[in-house]
Amino acid sequence: MELASEKPREARRLVDFPLVRGLLSQEGVLFVIIVLAVAVLASQNERFLTTRNVMREATLAFEVAIIAMPMTFIIITGGIDLSVGSTFGLAAIVLGFLWQDAGWSLEAAIGACLVTGLLCGLVNGLFIVRVGVPPLITTLATLALYRGMALGVSEARSARGFPEWFLEVGRGGPTLEWGTASASPTAQLLIVVGAALLFGALLYFLARNRQRALGSGSIEVLPAENGAGTSRLITGILAGALIAWAAVSLFTSETGEARSQLVPWQILIMIVIISITGIALSRTSFGRGLYAIGNNETAARFAGVPVGRYKLIIYTLSGLVSALAAWVFVSRVTTTRSDMGSGIELDAIAAVVLGGTSIMGGSGTILGTVLGLILIQVLKSGLLLAGVKGDATIIMIGVVLILSILVNNFIQSRLRPR
């Protein structure tokens, strides 16, 4: 900043252009890194960018991904939820125990699993909101408590032998049979990239026109609104790429023969949850309220934001989503164990923070978290395909986490208006 002010006034710096500015946001930087990483990995290994691999990776990321959504809400309010992994474990154990040992029907056990998650989250919320215990301590205590309850209930026994229909959620999905048009890989790639850019540009200009209609981009707005155009652009590119890629892989094939493609339920559930949380955060008064709480809780309360109720909602939601993840996970691995989901809280937090959500609260987007998740999964998958040992890939994630915050801090300090 100081450096910039010494210079004589220029008409317009490069970074004053909205597109450049947006590309230099955390989302923009992440997006560029992801595109580069995917390009490199895809050129190194032909199996990387196949429909099958992409779907498999998305399925593997499911649990962390859906838990990271309410976690984004919570971190935006300046809180944290360390107990999600333990809630996950307890919900899984409740499901297995009630069905196998208590003789409940499996449907009732699934219901109880979700209710358990809801209650776990509610207890967190009540301690934080009504008693006033800081979120870090509350959820640290319930991390031990819920995991301990899972251990106590299960006594290290595991449930297995679930019926076939139960395994459907974790392993099945609608099967689509299409694919009669023929297209070469190059043509497929061109269609996807073209559609992505088109869609992105469309959303970007719509956003810019809206901003102009509101009267220039210089109004003081909440941090989320800064670079709204770019985040729209990236959302557009991502959505466009997704839709075009889905269409291309469904309707075309190299040979022109019909194929069937299983779309895992996980991907569909994930898309629904991401869409709902994304819209709730950016388009509703609830979402605005979360930013307000994170920026200044006292001010938010005076401004009439129902702080207590909103906090209660997000912590309860976090518990519920953890239980949902547990149910789908149990269905995928076909067994329950009391140590399930341990450490998942740190994976989710890493994705959220990598996505540019400030751990101090007040800023962050669902899009950022999604990009963070994609980058982590791309790195994991790519390094695994490159022959790096699975456990060693977490070094990379640690380095990327610290570096991305460093780079972002650096860029933001240069970008600040003179």
Partner: protein, 338 residues
Amino acid sequence: MTATTQPIPARETRTDAPSRLSGLFSQEVVLALIIVGLSVVVGALNPRFLEPNNLRDILSNSSYIAVAAIGMTMVIITGNIDISVGSMIGLLSTVAGTIAVGAEAGGYPLWVSWVVPVIIGGLIGALVGFLVAYLNIPAIVVSLGMMSILKGGLILWTGGAWIYNLPVDFMIAQRSLLGIPTPVYFMVVLTILAALWMRYTPAGRAIYAVGGNKEAARLSGISRRAVLMQVFIINGVMVGIASVLFGTQFNAIQSTVPPGLELFIITASVVGGVSILGGIGTVVGSTLGAILIHVIPSAMTFANISAYWRQAVQGLLILVTVLIDLLRRRRQAQARRI
């Protein structure tokens, strides 16, 4: 809700007449009472609980947690946190073991294997401190990243192979002096030194100042960055010492990161009355906290409660002690207002 928005004054109970009584029931006293009370009750149920052997085990096992919690307490008092300590202990105890195994062939004295992990701990602490203090990255993010790096590095390095045939002289945690295990000496001496340092020296008081009121600390000429560097280096050194105590307690080193160890250490600090918001807490409290979280499982075993419920009781315990602490402070704040 109102109490959380009120700034909670630091311990100034001595000059404050209305709170003198509640000062008697500080978190340290409460913890000591709980530990003694629990021991008496369980001892009455099962006299074997109070046998010297068992008490020695409890104290010895809580030592490395207590030593690591000394550093953690300082870090939390400055308003930061370090969740990479579990991975650090895993890595540094493996370093200690590897050096010890090579001592005879390499022709260097065995004490090198105790000193090197402590130095490396200090260096890692300095790196974390630099990132937090000078590059302004939140400590939770730095330590989250550091945790991944150390954990991955350890697996990459050892491949998860255990270290056996450690020299007998390496095992300082298994030795005793005057019938008391050596780790207990480390715990007691380091706690007393740290407590005196934090209470009576300007550098020690600066830690509270930085955590309690940033602006006031700045105006009184305290360099926040220097204090943070110092605290993170001390934390690294303490974790280094804890790693040596941890690595020398058994005849083999597992070369893995003990799951949830960092949370165990943070728990000891929090149970000991350290406020996660910064500015409040003592190392005497965190050491008592570390002892308490080891007394409970042992007491449960002797009271014939299923070991499977151990962790649930521990979780409840954290909630209860934190609640007691919170209520006590609220009452103090009210007393001060009147």
